[in-house]
């Protein structure tokens, strides 16, 4: 399983990838997670890779081989669509954060992004992760809301996700994150994932 996480630096993609890594470890699988630290973290485009299975060699995902892209921002998901294998799934937060070239007016945020993505041979889900994270009690939990959305598209037992979340966040934040996971899971479950554009 190859999962690519695309985000804006500071959105919590590293923690999300660690939760995925923990879950795979607890399932007895070989796993590699590749993270981004340093300069690009300061509001820049960040990508992390999570791979698990029988035996994993490279920590990074080759173009055209990702099963799932979990995007924390619309533009960032679209940036990496070529990493998906045909028929792969793009789950994206509907949040829009303008990159600096858009803010300064030297570039434009493509307004037809959604239509362009819908035209691709992939499954596509949009989730308002920021609103659900606020509902869970902390806007920072968008990463775990998205993990919930991802979990709903897999056959992995819910309990395994709960354990991985509890092992990855500080004790005092466990409840709020489990709530975020539940909302993400349930809201995502309410929609089809059959290649149509599902907005939730």
């Amino acid at each position: 399983m190859n999962i690519l996480l695309a985000a804006v630096g500071g959105q919590g993609a590293v923690l999300a990838s660690r939760i995925l890594g923990k879950m795979a470890q607890n399932s007895g699988l070989d796993v590699k997670v590749s993270e981004v630290h340093g300069m690009s973290q300061r509001g820049g485009s960040v990508v992390t890779y999570v791979r698990f299975g029988e035996k994993i060699h490279s920590p990074i995902i080759e173009k055209g081989t990702a099963d799932i892209i979990l995007a924390f921002e619309m533009l960032e998901g679209a940036r990496y669509v070529e990493w998906l294998k045909p028929g792969g799934t793009l789950i994206t937060s509907s949040q829009r954060i303008d990159p600096m070239p858009v803010i300064t007016g030297t570039a434009e945020y493509p307004e037809d992004l959604e239509e362009r993505i819908q035209a691709l041979p992939i499954h596509y889900k949009v989730i308002d992760a920021l609103t659900y994270a606020r509902e869970a009690g902390n806007p920072k939990t968008i990463n775990v809301v998205l993990i919930g959305a991802l979990a709903s598209t897999t056959d992995i037992e819910e309990e395994k996700w709960h354990t991985a979340i509890k092992e990855s966040v500080p004790d005092k934040l466990a409840d709020i994150n489990l709530k975020a996971f539940k909302i993400g899971f349930e809201m995502s479950q309410l929609t089809k994932s059959n290649g149509e554009n599902d907005e939730i």
């Binding site: 500071g10 923990k22 630290h37 820049g44 490279s58 080759e62 070529e82 303008d98 300064t104």
Partner: protein, 577 residues
Amino acid sequence: MKNILLGNEAVARGAFEYGVTVASAYPGTPSTEITENIKKYENINTEWSPNEKVALEVGIGASIAGARTIVSMKHVGLNVAADALMSISYPGVNAGLLLAVADDPSQHSSQNEQDTRYYGMAAKVPVLEPSDSQECKDFVGHGLKISETFDTPVILRLNTRISHSQSMVELQEKVPYQLKEYDKNPNKYIVAPAVAKKRRVIAEERLRKLEEFAETTELNTVEYKNRDIGIITSGIAYQYSKEVLPDASYLKLGLSYPLPRKKITEFIKNCKIVYVIEELEPIMEEKIKSWGLSVIGKEVIPIIGELNQEIVRASVLRKTIDGVKSELSKEIPVRPPVLCPGCHHRGVFYVLKKLKLHVSGDIGCYTLAAFAPLSAMDTSICMGASIGMAFGFEKARGKEFSKKTVAVIGDSTFIHSGITALIDVVYNQGNTTVIILDNSTTAMTGHQDHPGTGCTIRGEKSHAVDFVALAKAIGIKRIQTVDAHDITELERIVLEETQAEEPSVIITKRPCVLLKNASLIHEPLSITGCKGCKACMKIGCPAISFSSGKAEIKKDLCVGCELCTRICEFDAIKKEA
């Protein structure tokens, strides 16, 4: 027990398991988490050093005094520590001395792509290259043992992908290790010519012995499968190759310097075509070719940037994988890193740009002020360079030019290597104005303490370097401290000090907005009655955007720093009621 660990965490675990009791480092991506994790082991005396040279000197002292020691840094940090490395090579060590050095291919967070293996060759010290987290841990043990057996410092060469990838690691009990006796041995450790000339001969003999060791060590493994393609590789390149070419034959070099000539010759003889797949420079390849052996290397493998499966596949098999095809990515605007919302550097650079100054910059978060729309920095070359370079501007173009110039440097960078340049300015009668951007942390690498914060790596209270007293002591007479948020006062001070006929230091003070104890983070602001003048767009705040002729503030990004309220001439930006 197995656990999933970051490469850097695994190095730290290795230090613990193999009896390291002293660790020192200066933070630098991608090496920082080695030392951040080592500090969790209470029996290891751990420090953030002022810079990498000091870190290595502390390490050399600890080794001679009998402690197994690890010194960590990023690749360019080894440039700073190079004098110490080159000088300790001939004398050698007492207890094991390991330098964990993390390269940054593709320059994710660095000014260059230098290949640390060249330092191994230049210093004639062995280089180990782990290919996953398990090996990161194991190779710490091997490295310390090699260091003690062959009486040499050892380089553990990591890189971004190894350091910042998590993979499974078998955890073990700590191996009992006793502090060795202090090695009081001037005939070894005084590198005056009389001693050093003798040690030079010993270092050369040591290299011959290491070459023999390379032939037999378990660090270098041969794996024969299909012999049509043979791959000689090391480090992360092994993993990329193995994934693309699982059935090829492999010679994997965990000890990548010095090379095992016999082993390599035999491997090449046993395979039809042999590729040398190495990231960055053709170091193994050139050595192998110098022996008259035929291999394919940089003819097909790129010399620039990180490798990956796609590159190995295209280079060796001339194939690509058919994935989703889309033109989208080409049209999507880039998202470069930016100063955070509420960052105190933003106002400082707004002022410097407004005053149209030449800005000699340095390395840290504030380097991001070089990019649009602030575009307020002319140069940023290496750690600590800002002050010496500004003085160089003055020497080339005279005092009037100097009055239009400032050097800007962060607090951690100033301590790292800015102080000596400031001494030069005073000593050689310069005019240079230096702004120390004091945000009370080493921010870019993830908020490490330093000698100016008054706190050690373990959070113990310590003396905080007093920048005002320091500047005074080295002979600066004009020193002013200002709140980085008070841009009106800052502008006045910068004008005053750049015009002064003597060197001056301005300290802009405010803790980084991301620090837990930062006083900021108020409620977000909002804009009513925007005239669309775009003045607030000049500060490059990620929370302010412009559409349909008006500026607007994104509530989920705004932290309420109020810098924009000082810039808006129409008083349109206010706290939400």
